[in-house]
Assembly symmetry: D2
Homo-oligomer: 353 residues x 4
C-alpha cells in the first residue's frame, strides 16, 4: 500500500507529530508513505519526499511541518477564486506516483478540497487542524492547547509590568471568528476583561471594569481576540483597519481598543499583539499526545479502508466523522457555553453591561 500525506493551511504545533504517527503506524505494517510538499501545491509542482521511519525520527517535538504548507492553494481553482481547475493534473500525478490513499491534514479549507478529491474517486482521510479550535464535529484540535499556553505565559509576563507601573495591558490573541483562544488563554492568564468575536463589546462596560480595578488594584489585564468588535459599530475593528488607506497602519484591534480606552482612564494603556508566536514552537505535551492519537487514528482508517472521513475527538474518544459533514462549518463559542458562566462568576468582564 502506498499512502500520500500533506499538510495544508496555516502551520500549527503538532503537525509533525501527526506526520510521525501516521508514518510509524503505516510503515510498521509494511506500507509506503510519501509526503507531498507545501500542501496541495506539491501535487501541481510535483514536489514529494519519502516519509520513512528515519525521516520522522525526532520530529515529534518540532513545531511547524517538515512537509511545508501553503495557505491558499486550491487545485480546483488555481490560483484563487475563478482560477483554473487543475485537479485532473493533480489526480494524474497521484496515479503516476501510485498513491492508493491520501491523508490530508488541515483546517476547514483543506477538508473542503479533500472532499472534492474524494468525489473524484480518491480515497481520502482527513485530520483536523485549526489552532483556533473552531472546526465543527471535533471537540478539540491539536495546536490549540499550545496557543493557549503562549497566551497564558504572555499574560503572566505582562502582569508584572501592569502591576509595577499601574497600567492597563491589552493582549491581542488569534481568533478571527471564534474566541476560544482568548477565552481559555485569558482565563489561564488571569485576565480581568476578555473580549470575543461572539460577544460584541460595549466600550463603556470595558472602561468601567478597568476604572473599578484602577481604583482598587491599580491595573488590569485585557485579552482581546483579533476578531472582536464593538457593539453597534458599523464595521468590525478588523474591517476598519483593512479599510484604512494608510500603508503604515499595521496595528491590530488591540491597538484600536487602546485608543478607545485611553481617554476614558487615568492610567496608561499599552498593547501587545502576540501574532505568530502563538502558532510556532514546540507543541505542549497535551498537543503532542492529541496529534499522535489523531495520526494513529488516521492510519487505522486507511488500513480499514474507511475513506471519506475525518478523524475527530468526541469527549475523550478518538473517532471519525464523514468529511462531507465538516466542510464550511465553524464552531464558535456558544453564548450559553459553561466557560462564559465560569468567567462571569469570577468577575471577569466579557465587555457586556
Amino acid at each position: 500500500m502506498h499512502v500520500g500525506m500533506l499538510t495544508g493551511g496555516g502551520d500549527c504545533p503538532g503537525l509533525n507529530a501527526v506526520l510521525r504517527a501516521v508514518t510509524l503506524a503505516l510503515t510498521g505494517d509494511g506500507a509506503t508513505v510519501t509526503g507531498i510538499e507545501r500542501g496541495f501545491l506539491g501535487l501541481l509542482t510535483r514536489s514529494v519526499q519519502p516519509l520513512t521511519r528515519e525521516r520522522v525520527a525526532g520530529i515529534l517535538a518540532q513545531g511547524g511541518t517538515i512537509l511545508g504548507t501553503h495557505n491558499r492553494c486550491d487545485p480546483f481553482a488555481f490560483f484563487g477564486a475563478g482560477g483554473a481547475d487543475c485537479s485532473a493534473q493533480a489526480m494524474s500525478y497521484l496515479r503516476e506516483l501510485g498513491i492508493d490513499a491520501l491523508v490530508a491534514i488541515g483546517g476547514d479549507g483543506t477538508m473542503v478540497i479533500a472532499q472534492r478529491f474524494a468525489e473524484l474517486g480518491l480515497p481520502v482521510v482527513g485530520v483536523p487542524k485549526t489552532i483556533d479550535n473552531d472546526l465543527a464535529l471535533t471537540d478539540r484540535t491539536f495546536g490549540f492547547d499550545s496557543a493557549v499556553a503562549v497566551v497564558s505565559e504572555s499574560l503572566d509576563r505582562l502582569q508584572t509590568t501592569a502591576s509595577s507601573h499601574g497600567r492597563v495591558m491589552i493582549v491581542e490573541t488569534m481568533g478571527r471568528y471564534a474566541g476560544w483562544i482568548a477565552l481559555q488563554g485569558g482565563m489561564a492568564g488571569g485576565a480581568d476583561v476578555i473580549l470575543l468575536p461572539e460577544l460584541p463589546y460595549d466600550l463603556q462596560a470595558v472602561a468601567e471594569r478597568c476604572l473599578e480595578r484602577e481604583s482598587r488594584e491599580g491595573w488590569s489585564l485585557v485579552c482581546i481576540a483579533e476578531g472582536a468588535h464593538q457593539r453597534d459599530a458599523g464595521l468590525t475593528l478588523r474591517e476598519t483597519i483593512a479599510d484604512s488607506p494608510d500603508p503604515l497602519r499595521l496595528g491590530g484591534v488591540g491597538h484600536v481598543l487602546q485608543q478607545q480606552l485611553q481617554p476614558l482612564l487615568s492610567c496608561e494603556v499599552r498593547t501587545t499583539l502576540l501574532g505568530h508566536v502563538q502558532r510556532g514552537g514546540t507543541p505542549t505535551a497535551f498537543d503532542r499526545v492529541l496529534a499522535t492519537r489523531f495520526g494513529e487514528m488516521a492510519a487505522q482508517l486507511v488500513k480499514a479502508g474507511q475513506f471519506g472521513r475525518m478523524v475527530a475527538l468526541q469527549g475523550d474518544d478518538c473517532t471519525s466523522v464523514p468529511l462531507v459533514d465538516v466542510a464550511g462549518r465553524t464552531r464558535t463559542v456558544p453564548l450559553d457555553h459553561p466557560l462564559l458562566r465560569t468567567a462571569r462568576s469570577l468577575g471577569i468582564s466579557l465587555g457586556q453591561r
Copy 2:
C-alpha cells in the same frame, strides 16, 4: 453564608487556582470564605485564615496551596489507623466558626473523610485532586497535565544525552497504581518503552526492544511508572525496595530496571528519578482552566445547596457525582484503552512479548 475550604493530600499544581475560583465566585455573591490550614489538621489545631478577594489575587499561577496541606491527617483516626476519633472536636470547631458548608479539595483519601463528615451532617462539596489522574468518575483531574508536561520536557532533555552518548536513558515517573502519567508523558516525550503498573513487564521484551534500537539508532528512552513491576516476580519492585534492610538503598524502580537491563545490553544505561519536580511549580494553562472550572462549579453547588457531591469532568462537561460513589475507587489504565493501541501501533514497547 460562611463557607470553609481546605486542601488535603499531596500538593498539586492548580490547587491555588481552585481556591481562587471558589473564593471569587462565592465572595462575589456576598458569602464569607474561611480557609482551613494544612488539610483536616487545621480543624484540630484550630488554624484558619480568611480567604478574601485580595488574599487570592495573584495565586492563579502559583503551584502548591496557600492553605498548606497534610498527607495523612484523618480526624476520624488521629493519628493513623486505630487512632482516636476526633471528629466531634472538628465538628464543634466548625460550628464555633459558624461554617455553613465545607469545600474539600483532595484525592481519594480526602473524599472518604469528607463523606464521613457529610454523614455527620456537615454540608460538603468535594473537588477532585490527584496528579495521577486515577480518581473514579471524573475523566480528568487538574495537576495531571502539568505532571505530564514535566515528564515530556524531561524526556526531551534526556533524549539529547541518550543520542549523543548512545545510551539507554530510563525515566521513573509518578504513578503507584495507575500508569497515566508514564503513558501520556512517555508518548509526549517520544519514549521507546513505557512500563505501567497495569501491565507487568517482561524483562526480555524490554531488552529486545532496546537491543533492536541499539543496533539501529544506537539509543533508547524508557519511561517507567513507580508502580511498575516485573511479570512473575514475587514482589513488586517497590516492595523489594521497601523490604531492603539497607538504609541507604534509596533508588527507585528505575534504578532496579537499570540493574536488570545493563547486563543484557552493550550500551550504557542511566536512570533519572523525576520525583517531586513533577508535582511542583506553576500549573499549565490547561490545568489552570480546568482547576478554575472545578472551583467555580464547586461554588455553584454550594450556592445551589447541592451537598454530598463531588465536582467531576465528563467529556468536556463540568458536572457532579455523589461523593459516596467515589470513595475507595481507583481509575487505572484499562487494558483495552485506545491509548495502548496507539502506543503499540507506533512501535512503542509496553514490555510485553
Copy 3:
C-alpha cells in the same frame, strides 16, 4: 540604621531580586529598610512600606517590582522639564522618616536624580538597571539576559512558521539607542539578518540576503531593534512613525521594514513586535544571581558608608563607580565590538553592503 530604597524607570526582571538582597543583607545586620513606592514619586506622595525579611520572602523569582515604579517622575522638575523643584519637600519627607541612606535602583534617569539628591547631602547608593544593557561603566545589567532569552525563544517559535510557509519573519526587539538585545537575541535565535541602531541599514543589502536565502533555504529570520533606521533616510523609522498624523498608525519599525522589503521579495514577509513581553516575567537564573550580587553589593556600600557610588560589574567582579561618572552616558554597541565580527563570520547580515 534606617535605609530607604526605591525602584525607578521601566520595570525589569530582577528588580525584586535586588530588593530582596538589599533587605536581607541589611536587616541581617540589624538595619531597618523602608521601601518608597513608585520611584521618586513616593517621596512626594508620601507612600512607603516597610521591607522586612517576611515581606521579601518569595519575591526572588517574581518579575516587576513590589514597590511599583514610575517612568518619568523627577522631584527636581515635577512634572516634566520646566516643572517645579519639589526636592526640598522630598528631602524633608526623608528626614521625617529618619532615613539615613537611600538605595536607588534604576537606569540613567534614576542615576541622574540620585546624583542630584547626593549633592543635596543625601547619602545615596545607586544600583544600575537597564534592560537594554546600555548603561556606562558596568559590563552587564540584570534584566538584559531575560530579555535576550525572550527574543531567542520567540525566534525559535517563529522559525517553525518561517520554514513551514517559506516566509521572511521579522522580529522587532527593544533597543532605542543600543542594539545589544537585538544582537545577542538575534544570534541566540539564529537570525539571518540583525539590524541595530548603531549601524544604519542598506535596504538593498537586507533584500539581497533574504533573496539569497529565498532561493536556497526558502525562508529568513530578521531581527531588528526598535531604534534601527535606514541609511541616508532623513528620519529614523521611529521618527517617521512618531511624525505620522494617523492615530491608528501603531506598528513599529519592523512593520515599516516589512513594507519596504515585501515588494523586493517573492515570499511573504510577516512581522512580530515583541513589545512588553521582553521586560516582564520571572528573571532568568543568570539575572537572579546578578541582581542578587548587585543588591548585596549595595548593602555593603551602605554599611561601609561609601555613598555617591553606583554598583557595577566589571568582568566578573562586582565593584562600584562614582555616580557622577555615570550620568547621561549610554553604552551603545561599538562598531569594532567582537560580536559584530562573530556575526559577520557566521554569514549574518548586519544590513551593510
Copy 4:
C-alpha cells in the same frame, strides 16, 4: 583547507552551537570541515561525516552533539589506563583524510589528549567544554548557564511542595569537584542551605539552619553538590556510596544527607536527584551566544594558524591560552570568592558553624 572537528567527554548544551559556528565560519571562507564521530573514538573506528552549511542548519538550539561523543576514549591508552597506544593509527587516518587541522571540543580530558596530538605535530585548537564551569584559564564555559537554569527552575518547583507541606526539600546537583552549579543554581532558586565540595559541611550547622526555618517559615530548601561531604568524615559521601556492596544502593549524597538530617528535625525531609536533566536539552540564550563566540574564535585561530591553543573567555573578551597550560587543572570555588560572601550576607547557610 580541510579541518576536522570532534566533541569529547560528557554532552553539554551548546556543543552543536559550537559545531555550527566553526562550520559556518570556516566554510564561509572556502574550507572543508569533517566531523569525527563519538570523540576520539571516531579516529579509531574511522567514523566521520561531512559538516556542511546544510548539515549544521537548525542545530543551534539542539542540545547534545550531532557528532556523538564518548566519555573515556583515549587513543594514547585504548581502552583505559595501561591500554594500547593507538595514536599512530589515529594520525595515519587523519593524514589519509587529508585533515590539515583539528578542532577538539571538550573538557580537561579532551584537552590533555588534544595536547598530546599537538605534540605529535597535529595542528590543534581546543574549545573548552565543562558543564561544571571548572576549567582553568577560562572564566566561563557554555553549558554551565543551562545547568544553573535547570537547578533554579527545579528549586522553583520544589519550593511550592516544601511550603505546602512544611518540608525540607534537598536537591542534589552536579559538581564532583567544583560547586559552581550548586552555588549559582542554589542562589538563583532561593536555597536556604548550599553545600559545596570546597566547604565540607558541619551536620549540626545544617540542622540548626533548618530548625530555625522550621520554627519560622516551616520549610527549607537545601542545594547540595554531588561532591559535597561532611567535615571530619573519613570518606566523602560519594566514596561511602561507591564503597557499598549493595547493588541497589543507588541514591546520591542528597539521600545520605536526608538520612542524616531527618532524625534531627520534626518536619519531613525529601530529596530530588536532578541527574542528567541538568545537561540535556536546548541551551539557554546565554550559552548559545557564548558557544557561538567560542566556535567562531576557534575558526579564527585555525585561519590564523594559531595552533596548540584553547579558546578562553576572560572578562567579556574571547581570547585564547596555550593548551599546555590548561591540562590537569581544575578551577574550584575559591574560599574567598565574593559569591560566598554574598550568600552568607543573605543568610544562606554554607554548612559552616
